[in-house]
Symmetry: C2
């Protein structure tokens, strides 16, 4: 309930009666209960000075309790209106509320209207930034999970390198990697594992398929696991067969850019400075037009969360922030290369969570 | 553009200037372009009588074109405000608009505010129901994909039955199933494959883990694939070793309930009648309290879509609707059993897309 208390002090200092949180990842952050309710209502109401309650589909109550939730809980059936149950629970457990903070970047117009219909004179404000402020600084307990998720990502890349073979398809390589992870007890990938080979590696959002790996390919592997609810996200690009000088130049440019950005991480540096360090190296090498995305993104319970490491974010890094650094060059005529690590900002600099080597591996 | 034209006639008859669609599955439905933009803006603006345009991250433009999109397209960079680009594109390509239909069940409060800030005197209405009305009736082209997705789901269950063995864990069984599917060219599961064994099969939303399958277990397999953008969703429960009489009774009750509901499917029957047919059989057998969820859900581009087959939905079935029928009994003291098929309402009755046998299989 430590995290709930932080929201409660925020509500008290801003004179807001309650916050209602429905993003599955935020519900997990505050309650330990991870669930994807699809279109059904699942959330946690945190009053400024009373016991919070979870509202969820009736059949999920045992799972919420098993997750260790110690606040109140109310279930709703598919046959009743969940919002009526929600408002009744507020009346019973909290009393009249005049102001409510919502996740405006997540809650839909429809749900907003459902709340306004039932609590018509209520004053609605945002809770998004406060939650981001809390989630963006990871606790030591969260870092333990993120380190382990990073280790498993390293292992996955190691397996991928061993399994690459002439004629094997991208999908077969993914199957081999994921099988090895399941043997290590991994129950969920952080996102669809990506393996792209040859010219396909130059598509930053390409889809793996039945293309067979062949000599002369670069093979790009982008993957992550979920460990105790926390994500990793790693990319490595390796050469299958001897690369050309032009391919090597692309690779080494990305590597220099990535390492320079990683080494620059410390409290006080801004996100945009990091982005610029990597981007300048790539631009000076003549590949600027082929680095078509931001440098990185925050990582934690969500595989994309705050902070965003872009060329326009002047936010200063603080100890406890965790994010990816993942420059890439996507030149269809030569090669597609991306190298991605997960890093933590420490009091004095940086801790890298993904440790798989970055020297060009030729298989 | 046939589907776009249907939205345009809706807009014209309701005197709405344009619709803006941002749900990834709806964007795919209208444009053929499937993408998960995460927090970035991706959508299609459909004016009532002009060429529609896609707005997407700059780097996704090639993928949208490759998907066959023939309307206009505009990209935005991470360094610019996507909403400014959006409004500029409306001014250039469409002109002044005074009314806009949005997906209120999807669009966030924040995005709603971003639109209102820039188009301040605009009248906002809902497009959700119109899109649901279109999507809920599948075309023959869509049915071709859904049939193939069903076939692959059958194959996955067949593999699962062959791979079940004493001491194999739930996760190992999942890995074996998914590997076999990858060999068939399946690139994406419709949702996280679920295998639950023994007492865990009695948790309708349990998580697979390293529990080893042992004699006397019921093994519940719930999975689906995505084929050409369309989902399947099947559940079968099999016995590993000879089941007890009590376990058999649970199984046969679910089977009778499932088959009775499937056989009752035809145009004009209501969703709630179907739910009642299955629920009555389970209740009369004394297991009513253990059937804790609705009978089924619509299936198509999304793994959960309209129609919802619940005890309170009086919607009449129409030819072309596709949904799951999936009664279950979750009695922790005896067994957890669910049987799920995907069905299409035809002009005269029902077509079942998943054909794996439902007689109790004892392995």
């Amino acid at each position: 309930m430590q995290k709930v208390k932080k929201i409660q002090s925020f509500l008290q200092s801003n004179n807001i009666d309650a916050a209602f949180i429905t993003t599955p990842d935020n519900v997990f952050y505050f309650t330990g209960f991870k669930s994807n309710p699809h279109e059904r209502l699942l959330g946690v109401l945190i009053p400024k000075d009373k016991t919070p309650f979870i509202i969820c589909p009736q059949m999920e109550i045992p799972d919420a309790l098993a997750a260790g939730w110690t606040g109140d809980i109310v279930g709703h059936q598919d046959t009743e209106n969940a919002w009526d149950v929600f408002v009744r629970m507020i009346e019973e457990k909290v009393g009249a509320i005049h102001s409510l903070a919502l996740e405006k970047a997540h809650l839909t117009i429809e749900r907003h209207e459902a709340i306004l219909e039932r609590l018509s004179s209520i004053n609605i404000s945002r809770i998004d930034e406060k939650i981001n402020d809390l989630r963006v600084i990871k606790s030591e307990e969260e870092l333990v999970n993120l380190r382990k998720a990073g280790e498993l990502a390293d292992y996955a890349i190691e397996v991928g390198c061993k399994e690459i073979a002439e004629g094997k398809t991208e999908l077969e390589l993914i199957a081999a990697i994921e099988l090895a992870l399941k043997d290590k007890g991994v129950t969920q990938m952080a996102f669809n594992t990506t393996v792209l080979s040859g010219p396909k590696s130059a598509s930053p959002h390409g889809t793996p398929g039945d293309r067979k790996i062949q000599k002369g390919d670069f093979v790009l592997m982008d993957l992550g696991v979920v460990y105790n609810g926390y994500c990793s996200d790693i990319t490595r690009t390796v050469a299958f067969g001897e690369p050309t000088a032009a391919q090597k130049d692309v690779y080494e440019t990305v590597r220099r850019a990535e390492e320079a950005a990683v080494n620059a991480v410390k409290p006080g540096v801004t996100a945009m400075e990091l982005d610029k360090i990597a981007r300048d190296i790539i631009t000076e090498a003549g590949y600027g037009e082929y680095f078509t995305h931001r440098l990185g993104h925050g990582l934690g319970i969500s595989v994309h969360e705050f902070p965003s490491i872009t060329g326009v974010n002047d936010m200063k890094l603080k100890a406890g922030m965790v994010f990816t650094i993942e420059p890439g060059i996507y030149n269809p005529a030569v090669a597609g290369v991306r190298i991605e690590d997960d890093v933590v900002v420490t009091e004095t600099g940086v801790e890298v969570l993904t440790k798989f080597p970055k020297e060009l591996i030729i298989i």
